[in-house]
């Protein structure tokens, strides 16, 4: 089966996020009030051919940890968004 996967990568809590902080600072100028805890990150979508959803997710999570994120400063989360 083919599974469509979404991987989200973001900085770990406690790691300074200058991009998120800059976005947050820009919000009042646009009229957005009360938005806090803005964190910037990356998202990746791809397809995995696997026997089961669990297998696809495990492969995607392994890929996320080995290449898509730097575990020294980032956390990653893979999830299946569609199966076909």
């Amino acid at each position: 089966m083919k599974f469509s996967v979404l991987v989200e990568v973001s900085l770990r809590p406690g790691i300074a996020d200058p991009e998120g902080a800059t976005i947050e600072r820009a919000l009042p100028a646009l009229g957005f009030e009360g938005i806090t805890a803005m964190r910037a990150g990356k998202a990746f979508r791809f397809e995995v051919e696997a026997a089961s959803a669990a297998d696809a997710e495990a492969q995607a999570q392994s890929l996320a940890e080995r290449l898509l994120s730097n575990p020294v400063i980032e956390q990653s989360h893979a999830r299946i968004v569609e199966a076909s």
Partner: protein, 224 residues
């Protein structure tokens, strides 16, 4: 005669500066393409600055899987000198050869300016002929140069004397003002400033010569 490998990835752009600096100190060099798998004949290895593999994903993230990096791992493990400058430093951290990581600069601006760094340890191959406390003017040129690591790593760096250089005026938000670190053995060093661009008074500073001479294991030739 010291023979230096300068590793070139697709997107490296400081290899000629490094080569020029190495030659001016009396050593010879070869450019080594990133698909090469053998560094055994060299006396030292430099990973120069630039944008290896376009810096796609993260600086160093893809370069880390270039075939030459297995050779760099092996070379470093044998105790021989490895230097990562700027993007080369980012590659070495991604490869796990140096602790910590480099993040986007505080302020999100690309910085291209002189910086002053202080020698913190002369235990590393880069600083073994310098004096602790010595201040050097070395330019920086980076967007992702803010050194970061967790508390345990920082404590270990301090305890093992692995912080090589600190900025006197932190330009980018680096943790603990760190500009360069080494591995625990001291033979693998990475720094964000560019010593190869500080090799001529005509260009603003020649303070990088002492560092590179130390690294390639030659005494500093008298200025012509």
């Amino acid at each position: 005669m010291s023979h230096v490998a300068i590793v070139v990835f697709p997107g490296s752009n400081c290899e000629y500066d490094a080569a020029n600096a190495v030659e001016s100190l009396g050593a010879t060099f070869e450019f080594v393409w990133h698909t090469s798998a053998d560094l055994s004949k060299f006396d030292a290895v430099i990973l120069p600055g630039g944008f290896a593999h376009g810096d796609y994903l993260r600086p160093g993230a893809i370069a880390r899987f270039s075939p030459v990096m297995s050779a760099v791992q092996e070379y470093a493990a044998s105790g021989r000198p490895v230097l990562g400058i700027c993007n080369g430093f980012q590659v070495l951290t991604e490869a796990g050869l140096l602790p910590g990581a480099l993040q986007k600069n505080r302020g999100l601006t690309f910085l291209c300016q002189p910086s002053t760094v202080r020698v913190v340890s002369n235990r590393s191959v880069l600083t073994r002929t310098t004096a602790v406390g010595e201040e050097l003017s070395i330019p920086i040129n980076h967007f992702s140069g803010s050194y970061t690591c967790d508390d345990d790593t920082l404590s270990a760096l301090v305890a093992n004397d692995q912080i090589v250089l600190r900025y006197t005026a932190n330009p980018n938000g680096s943790r603990d003002d760190i500009a360069g670190v080494c591995n625990s053995a001291g033979n693998v060093v990475g720094l964000m400033p560019h010593p190869e661009r500080a090799t001529s008074a005509l260009l603003g500073s020649e303070d990088g010569r002492a560092l590179l001479a130390s690294f390639i294991g030659l005494s500093l030739p008298q200025a012509a």
